[in-house]
Amino acid sequence: MIFPTELFAQDALTPISLLGAVALGAGFGFVLERSGFGRAQKLVAQFYLTDMAVFRVMFTAVVTAALGTSLLAAVGLLDLKAVTVNYPTFLWPMVAGGLLVGAGFVTSGYCPGTSVVAAASGKLDGLLTVAGVVIGAVAYAEAQPALAAFHDSGKLGGVFLYQLLNLPPIGLAAIIAVAAVGCFIGAGKIERLVHAARLARAAPAASTPAR
Protein backbone atom coordinates (compact mmCIF):
# COMPACT_ATOMS: atom_id res chain seq x y z
CA MET A 1 0.00 0.00 0.00
CA ILE A 2 1.39 3.39 -0.99
CA PHE A 3 -1.75 5.46 -0.49
CA PRO A 4 -3.03 7.38 1.38
CA THR A 5 0.26 9.17 2.02
CA GLU A 6 1.19 10.29 5.53
CA LEU A 7 3.07 13.33 4.24
CA PHE A 8 -0.06 15.26 3.20
CA ALA A 9 -2.49 13.75 5.75
CA GLN A 10 -5.37 16.03 6.76
CA ASP A 11 -4.62 15.61 10.47
CA ALA A 12 -0.87 16.24 10.04
CA LEU A 13 -1.16 20.06 9.87
CA THR A 14 2.43 20.51 8.74
CA PRO A 15 3.42 23.30 6.34
CA ILE A 16 3.51 20.75 3.50
CA SER A 17 0.06 19.28 4.27
CA LEU A 18 -1.44 22.78 4.54
CA LEU A 19 0.19 23.81 1.26
CA GLY A 20 -1.37 20.69 -0.25
CA ALA A 21 -4.73 21.76 1.22
CA VAL A 22 -4.57 25.16 -0.50
CA ALA A 23 -3.47 23.56 -3.81
CA LEU A 24 -6.19 20.86 -3.83
CA GLY A 25 -8.79 23.44 -2.76
CA ALA A 26 -7.67 25.73 -5.59
CA GLY A 27 -8.14 22.87 -8.06
CA PHE A 28 -11.59 22.21 -6.59
CA GLY A 29 -12.61 25.89 -6.79
CA PHE A 30 -11.23 26.34 -10.30
CA VAL A 31 -13.09 23.30 -11.69
CA LEU A 32 -16.34 24.38 -9.99
CA GLU A 33 -15.99 27.87 -11.50
CA ARG A 34 -15.27 26.53 -15.00
CA SER A 35 -18.26 24.19 -14.71
CA GLY A 36 -20.42 27.32 -14.34
CA PHE A 37 -21.11 26.60 -10.69
CA GLY A 38 -20.28 30.12 -9.52
CA ARG A 39 -23.53 31.20 -11.17
CA ALA A 40 -26.80 30.60 -9.30
CA GLN A 41 -28.97 30.39 -12.42
CA LYS A 42 -26.82 27.60 -13.85
CA LEU A 43 -27.05 25.67 -10.56
CA VAL A 44 -30.80 25.99 -9.92
CA ALA A 45 -31.58 25.08 -13.57
CA GLN A 46 -31.14 21.51 -12.31
CA PHE A 47 -34.36 21.89 -10.32
CA TYR A 48 -36.31 23.47 -13.20
CA LEU A 49 -35.14 20.68 -15.52
CA THR A 50 -33.76 23.14 -18.09
CA ASP A 51 -30.03 22.34 -17.63
CA MET A 52 -28.87 19.28 -15.72
CA ALA A 53 -25.19 20.24 -15.58
CA VAL A 54 -25.18 19.86 -11.77
CA PHE A 55 -26.26 16.22 -12.03
CA ARG A 56 -23.87 15.52 -14.94
CA VAL A 57 -20.79 17.06 -13.30
CA MET A 58 -21.46 15.62 -9.84
CA PHE A 59 -22.35 12.12 -10.99
CA THR A 60 -19.39 12.00 -13.43
CA ALA A 61 -17.08 13.10 -10.60
CA VAL A 62 -18.52 10.46 -8.26
CA VAL A 63 -18.05 7.75 -10.92
CA THR A 64 -14.49 8.91 -11.73
CA ALA A 65 -13.38 8.94 -8.09
CA ALA A 66 -15.24 5.68 -7.29
CA LEU A 67 -13.54 3.89 -10.22
CA GLY A 68 -10.18 5.42 -9.30
CA THR A 69 -10.26 4.50 -5.60
CA SER A 70 -11.66 0.99 -6.09
CA LEU A 71 -9.25 0.23 -8.95
CA LEU A 72 -6.21 1.38 -6.95
CA ALA A 73 -7.48 -0.62 -3.96
CA ALA A 74 -7.97 -3.73 -6.14
CA VAL A 75 -4.34 -3.63 -7.32
CA GLY A 76 -3.08 -3.02 -3.78
CA LEU A 77 -1.95 0.59 -4.12
CA LEU A 78 -4.62 2.11 -1.86
CA ASP A 79 -5.74 1.09 1.62
CA LEU A 80 -9.45 1.73 1.03
CA LYS A 81 -10.39 1.14 4.69
CA ALA A 82 -8.06 3.97 5.78
CA VAL A 83 -10.22 6.33 3.69
CA THR A 84 -13.70 4.89 4.25
CA VAL A 85 -13.23 4.95 8.05
CA ASN A 86 -13.84 8.71 7.80
CA TYR A 87 -17.34 8.23 6.33
CA PRO A 88 -19.67 6.65 8.94
CA THR A 89 -23.40 6.58 8.30
CA PHE A 90 -25.93 8.30 10.56
CA LEU A 91 -28.96 7.48 8.46
CA TRP A 92 -31.79 9.70 9.78
CA PRO A 93 -29.85 12.93 10.32
CA MET A 94 -28.28 12.40 6.87
CA VAL A 95 -31.71 12.08 5.22
CA ALA A 96 -33.00 15.14 7.13
CA GLY A 97 -29.79 17.05 6.39
CA GLY A 98 -30.06 16.16 2.69
CA LEU A 99 -33.62 17.51 2.54
CA LEU A 100 -32.54 20.76 4.24
CA VAL A 101 -29.43 21.22 2.07
CA GLY A 102 -31.54 20.58 -1.07
CA ALA A 103 -34.19 23.08 0.07
CA GLY A 104 -31.50 25.63 0.97
CA PHE A 105 -29.73 25.06 -2.36
CA VAL A 106 -32.78 25.91 -4.47
CA THR A 107 -33.62 28.87 -2.18
CA SER A 108 -30.14 30.43 -2.10
CA GLY A 109 -29.07 29.26 -5.55
CA TYR A 110 -25.85 27.68 -4.25
CA CYS A 111 -24.44 24.89 -2.14
CA PRO A 112 -21.99 25.65 0.69
CA GLY A 113 -18.99 25.06 -1.65
CA THR A 114 -20.26 26.84 -4.76
CA SER A 115 -21.38 29.85 -2.68
CA VAL A 116 -17.69 30.36 -1.81
CA VAL A 117 -16.81 30.24 -5.54
CA ALA A 118 -19.61 32.74 -6.29
CA ALA A 119 -18.41 35.06 -3.51
CA ALA A 120 -14.86 34.83 -4.92
CA SER A 121 -16.29 35.84 -8.35
CA GLY A 122 -17.82 38.98 -6.85
CA LYS A 123 -21.41 37.78 -6.41
CA LEU A 124 -23.05 39.46 -3.41
CA ASP A 125 -25.76 36.79 -3.19
CA GLY A 126 -22.99 34.20 -2.99
CA LEU A 127 -21.34 36.04 -0.11
CA LEU A 128 -24.67 36.25 1.75
CA THR A 129 -25.18 32.52 1.23
CA VAL A 130 -21.77 31.88 2.82
CA ALA A 131 -22.85 34.07 5.76
CA GLY A 132 -26.11 32.12 5.98
CA VAL A 133 -24.27 28.79 6.09
CA VAL A 134 -22.09 30.06 8.97
CA ILE A 135 -25.14 31.36 10.88
CA GLY A 136 -27.14 28.16 10.32
CA ALA A 137 -24.26 25.91 11.39
CA VAL A 138 -23.61 27.94 14.55
CA ALA A 139 -27.35 28.02 15.39
CA TYR A 140 -27.53 24.25 14.96
CA ALA A 141 -24.51 23.76 17.24
CA GLU A 142 -26.31 25.82 19.91
CA ALA A 143 -29.44 23.67 19.63
CA GLN A 144 -27.66 20.33 19.19
CA PRO A 145 -27.58 19.31 22.91
CA ALA A 146 -31.40 19.40 22.88
CA LEU A 147 -31.50 17.40 19.62
CA ALA A 148 -28.77 14.93 20.61
CA ALA A 149 -31.03 11.86 20.32
CA PHE A 150 -31.88 12.64 16.69
CA HIS A 151 -28.37 13.90 15.91
CA ASP A 152 -26.97 10.42 16.62
CA SER A 153 -29.91 8.35 15.37
CA GLY A 154 -29.51 5.71 12.67
CA LYS A 155 -25.87 5.28 13.71
CA LEU A 156 -24.75 2.38 11.53
CA GLY A 157 -20.99 2.98 11.47
CA GLY A 158 -19.24 2.46 8.14
CA VAL A 159 -21.84 0.99 5.74
CA PHE A 160 -20.98 0.89 2.06
CA LEU A 161 -23.26 -0.05 -0.80
CA TYR A 162 -20.91 -2.78 -2.11
CA GLN A 163 -21.14 -4.50 1.29
CA LEU A 164 -24.94 -4.41 1.21
CA LEU A 165 -24.92 -5.87 -2.32
CA ASN A 166 -22.12 -8.32 -1.54
CA LEU A 167 -20.00 -7.09 -4.47
CA PRO A 168 -16.34 -6.08 -4.70
CA PRO A 169 -16.01 -2.25 -4.67
CA ILE A 170 -14.69 -2.23 -8.25
CA GLY A 171 -17.67 -4.32 -9.40
CA LEU A 172 -20.21 -1.87 -7.99
CA ALA A 173 -18.22 1.12 -9.30
CA ALA A 174 -18.41 -0.40 -12.80
CA ILE A 175 -22.18 -0.97 -12.46
CA ILE A 176 -22.66 2.65 -11.28
CA ALA A 177 -20.60 3.87 -14.26
CA VAL A 178 -22.88 1.99 -16.69
CA ALA A 179 -25.99 3.23 -14.85
CA ALA A 180 -24.64 6.80 -15.08
CA VAL A 181 -24.54 6.62 -18.88
CA GLY A 182 -28.21 5.58 -18.87
CA CYS A 183 -29.07 8.43 -16.47
CA PHE A 184 -27.28 10.98 -18.68
CA ILE A 185 -29.27 9.86 -21.73
CA GLY A 186 -32.46 10.17 -19.66
CA ALA A 187 -31.43 13.63 -18.42
CA GLY A 188 -30.93 14.80 -22.02
CA LYS A 189 -34.40 13.53 -22.96
CA ILE A 190 -36.01 15.37 -20.03
CA GLU A 191 -34.22 18.61 -20.99
CA ARG A 192 -35.47 18.35 -24.58
CA LEU A 193 -39.07 17.64 -23.44
CA VAL A 194 -39.04 20.64 -21.07
CA HIS A 195 -37.52 22.84 -23.76
CA ALA A 196 -40.19 21.77 -26.31
CA ALA A 197 -42.97 22.38 -23.78
CA ARG A 198 -41.63 25.90 -23.09
CA LEU A 199 -41.47 26.71 -26.81
CA ALA A 200 -45.07 25.46 -27.28
CA ARG A 201 -46.23 27.70 -24.42
CA ALA A 202 -44.29 30.70 -25.71
CA ALA A 203 -45.46 30.37 -29.33
CA PRO A 204 -49.12 31.54 -28.96
CA ALA A 205 -47.97 34.51 -26.86
CA ALA A 206 -45.40 35.48 -29.50
CA SER A 207 -48.03 35.49 -32.29
CA THR A 208 -50.32 37.86 -30.33
CA PRO A 209 -49.84 41.41 -31.67
CA ALA A 210 -48.29 43.83 -29.18
CA ARG A 211 -50.66 46.37 -27.71
Binding site: V22, A26, G38, V83, F90, G98, L100, G102, G104
Partner: protein, 171 residues
Protein backbone atom coordinates in the same frame (compact mmCIF):
# COMPACT_ATOMS: atom_id res chain seq x y z
CA UNK B 1 -7.73 34.46 -26.84
CA UNK B 2 -11.06 36.19 -26.26
CA UNK B 3 -12.95 35.61 -23.03
CA UNK B 4 -16.53 34.45 -23.26
CA UNK B 5 -18.29 34.56 -19.86
CA UNK B 6 -21.06 32.34 -21.25
CA UNK B 7 -18.70 29.49 -22.12
CA UNK B 8 -18.31 26.68 -19.62
CA UNK B 9 -16.46 23.40 -19.68
CA UNK B 10 -18.24 20.38 -21.10
CA UNK B 11 -20.03 18.90 -18.01
CA UNK B 12 -18.60 15.41 -18.50
CA UNK B 13 -15.02 16.66 -18.84
CA UNK B 14 -15.59 18.98 -15.87
CA UNK B 15 -16.91 15.98 -13.93
CA UNK B 16 -13.82 13.92 -14.75
CA UNK B 17 -11.59 16.86 -13.70
CA UNK B 18 -13.53 17.21 -10.43
CA UNK B 19 -13.32 13.45 -9.86
CA UNK B 20 -9.55 13.53 -10.37
CA UNK B 21 -9.13 16.39 -7.86
CA UNK B 22 -11.19 14.35 -5.40
CA UNK B 23 -9.17 11.19 -6.13
CA UNK B 24 -5.90 13.07 -5.59
CA UNK B 25 -7.29 14.36 -2.28
CA UNK B 26 -8.10 10.82 -1.06
CA UNK B 27 -4.70 9.48 -2.14
CA UNK B 28 -2.64 12.31 -0.69
CA UNK B 29 -4.59 13.06 2.48
CA UNK B 30 -6.78 10.03 3.32
CA UNK B 31 -9.98 12.12 3.36
CA UNK B 32 -12.16 13.90 0.80
CA UNK B 33 -13.07 17.52 0.08
CA UNK B 34 -15.53 19.68 2.02
CA UNK B 35 -16.94 23.17 2.46
CA UNK B 36 -19.46 23.34 5.30
CA UNK B 37 -17.10 22.21 8.08
CA UNK B 38 -14.70 25.07 7.40
CA UNK B 39 -17.58 27.57 7.23
CA UNK B 40 -18.77 26.41 10.67
CA UNK B 41 -15.24 26.85 12.04
CA UNK B 42 -15.15 30.47 10.78
CA UNK B 43 -18.25 31.14 12.86
CA UNK B 44 -16.82 29.36 15.91
CA UNK B 45 -13.58 31.36 15.58
CA UNK B 46 -15.59 34.60 15.58
CA UNK B 47 -17.49 33.54 18.72
CA UNK B 48 -14.27 32.38 20.39
CA UNK B 49 -12.81 35.85 19.92
CA UNK B 50 -15.58 37.42 22.01
CA UNK B 51 -16.86 34.58 24.23
CA UNK B 52 -14.33 31.72 24.60
CA UNK B 53 -16.15 30.32 27.65
CA UNK B 54 -19.30 29.85 25.58
CA UNK B 55 -17.42 27.89 22.89
CA UNK B 56 -16.14 25.53 25.59
CA UNK B 57 -19.74 24.87 26.75
CA UNK B 58 -21.25 23.93 23.37
CA UNK B 59 -20.17 20.37 22.46
CA UNK B 60 -20.02 20.78 18.65
CA UNK B 61 -18.04 24.02 19.04
CA UNK B 62 -15.73 22.66 21.73
CA UNK B 63 -14.89 19.73 19.44
CA UNK B 64 -13.34 22.19 16.93
CA UNK B 65 -10.89 23.66 19.47
CA UNK B 66 -8.91 20.52 20.28
CA UNK B 67 -5.87 21.91 18.44
CA UNK B 68 -6.32 25.38 19.96
CA UNK B 69 -7.89 27.57 17.30
CA UNK B 70 -10.87 26.20 15.29
CA UNK B 71 -9.03 27.52 12.22
CA UNK B 72 -6.13 25.08 12.71
CA UNK B 73 -7.82 22.56 10.41
CA UNK B 74 -6.99 21.12 6.99
CA UNK B 75 -10.38 21.95 5.45
CA UNK B 76 -10.04 25.63 6.45
CA UNK B 77 -6.87 25.85 4.35
CA UNK B 78 -8.59 23.90 1.58
CA UNK B 79 -11.40 26.48 1.63
CA UNK B 80 -8.83 29.27 1.25
CA UNK B 81 -7.72 27.35 -1.86
CA UNK B 82 -11.33 27.23 -3.11
CA UNK B 83 -11.49 31.04 -2.83
CA UNK B 84 -8.22 31.37 -4.79
CA UNK B 85 -9.24 28.81 -7.44
CA UNK B 86 -12.72 30.30 -7.81
CA UNK B 87 -11.26 33.80 -8.14
CA UNK B 88 -8.70 32.65 -10.71
CA UNK B 89 -11.37 30.82 -12.72
CA UNK B 90 -13.70 33.83 -12.72
CA UNK B 91 -10.93 36.31 -13.51
CA UNK B 92 -9.57 34.33 -16.48
CA UNK B 93 -13.03 33.69 -17.95
CA UNK B 94 -14.39 37.24 -17.70
CA UNK B 95 -16.89 36.29 -15.00
CA UNK B 96 -15.28 38.32 -12.20
CA UNK B 97 -17.83 41.06 -11.57
CA UNK B 98 -19.46 42.66 -8.52
CA UNK B 99 -23.18 41.95 -8.85
CA UNK B 100 -26.22 40.19 -7.40
CA UNK B 101 -27.47 37.27 -9.49
CA UNK B 102 -31.29 37.35 -9.80
CA UNK B 103 -34.11 37.70 -12.31
CA UNK B 104 -34.44 41.16 -13.94
CA UNK B 105 -37.76 42.04 -12.20
CA UNK B 106 -37.02 40.55 -8.76
CA UNK B 107 -36.00 43.04 -6.02
CA UNK B 108 -32.36 42.78 -4.86
CA UNK B 109 -33.28 42.90 -1.17
CA UNK B 110 -35.63 39.92 -1.48
CA UNK B 111 -32.91 38.01 -3.33
CA UNK B 112 -30.43 38.81 -0.54
CA UNK B 113 -32.92 37.53 2.06
CA UNK B 114 -33.42 34.27 0.13
CA UNK B 115 -29.64 33.82 -0.22
CA UNK B 116 -29.09 34.34 3.52
CA UNK B 117 -32.09 32.17 4.52
CA UNK B 118 -31.21 29.39 2.07
CA UNK B 119 -27.65 29.46 3.33
CA UNK B 120 -28.88 29.09 6.92
CA UNK B 121 -30.99 26.05 5.95
CA UNK B 122 -27.86 24.50 4.42
CA UNK B 123 -25.78 25.33 7.50
CA UNK B 124 -28.26 23.41 9.68
CA UNK B 125 -28.56 20.56 7.17
CA UNK B 126 -24.82 20.13 6.73
CA UNK B 127 -24.28 19.93 10.50
CA UNK B 128 -26.97 17.25 10.77
CA UNK B 129 -25.58 15.29 7.82
CA UNK B 130 -21.88 15.66 8.78
CA UNK B 131 -21.24 17.26 5.39
CA UNK B 132 -22.80 19.09 2.46
CA UNK B 133 -22.91 18.51 -1.28
CA UNK B 134 -19.07 18.42 -1.30
CA UNK B 135 -18.26 16.66 1.97
CA UNK B 136 -21.08 14.13 1.92
CA UNK B 137 -22.71 13.69 -1.52
CA UNK B 138 -19.48 14.00 -3.53
CA UNK B 139 -16.77 12.71 -1.18
CA UNK B 140 -18.86 10.10 0.67
CA UNK B 141 -20.78 9.22 -2.50
CA UNK B 142 -17.61 8.32 -4.42
CA UNK B 143 -16.67 5.93 -1.59
CA UNK B 144 -20.17 4.41 -2.02
CA UNK B 145 -21.15 5.19 1.59
CA UNK B 146 -24.81 4.26 2.23
CA UNK B 147 -25.40 7.44 4.27
CA UNK B 148 -23.91 9.64 1.54
CA UNK B 149 -26.21 8.12 -1.10
CA UNK B 150 -29.21 8.58 1.20
CA UNK B 151 -28.10 12.22 1.57
CA UNK B 152 -27.70 12.54 -2.23
CA UNK B 153 -31.28 11.31 -2.88
CA UNK B 154 -32.74 13.46 -0.08
CA UNK B 155 -30.82 16.49 -1.44
CA UNK B 156 -32.53 16.19 -4.83
CA UNK B 157 -35.87 15.50 -3.10
CA UNK B 158 -35.57 18.66 -0.98
CA UNK B 159 -34.60 20.77 -4.00
CA UNK B 160 -37.44 19.58 -6.25
CA UNK B 161 -39.98 19.89 -3.40
CA UNK B 162 -39.24 23.59 -2.89
CA UNK B 163 -38.30 24.62 -6.45
CA UNK B 164 -41.71 25.99 -7.55
CA UNK B 165 -42.04 28.12 -4.41
CA UNK B 166 -38.81 30.09 -4.96
CA UNK B 167 -38.80 30.25 -8.77
CA UNK B 168 -39.97 33.87 -8.94
CA UNK B 169 -36.49 35.15 -7.95
CA UNK B 170 -35.19 34.21 -11.41
CA UNK B 171 -37.92 35.96 -13.47
Amino acid sequence: MTKDPERFWNPYLAGVALGLVLLATYLLTGKGLGASGASFRLGVAAIQAVAPAHVAEVPLMAATTEDGSPLRYWLVFELVGVVLGGFLGAWTSGRLRGETLKGPTFPSRSRWALALGGGALMGVGAQLARGCASGQALSGGALMSAGAWAFFLAFFGGGYALAALVRRQWS
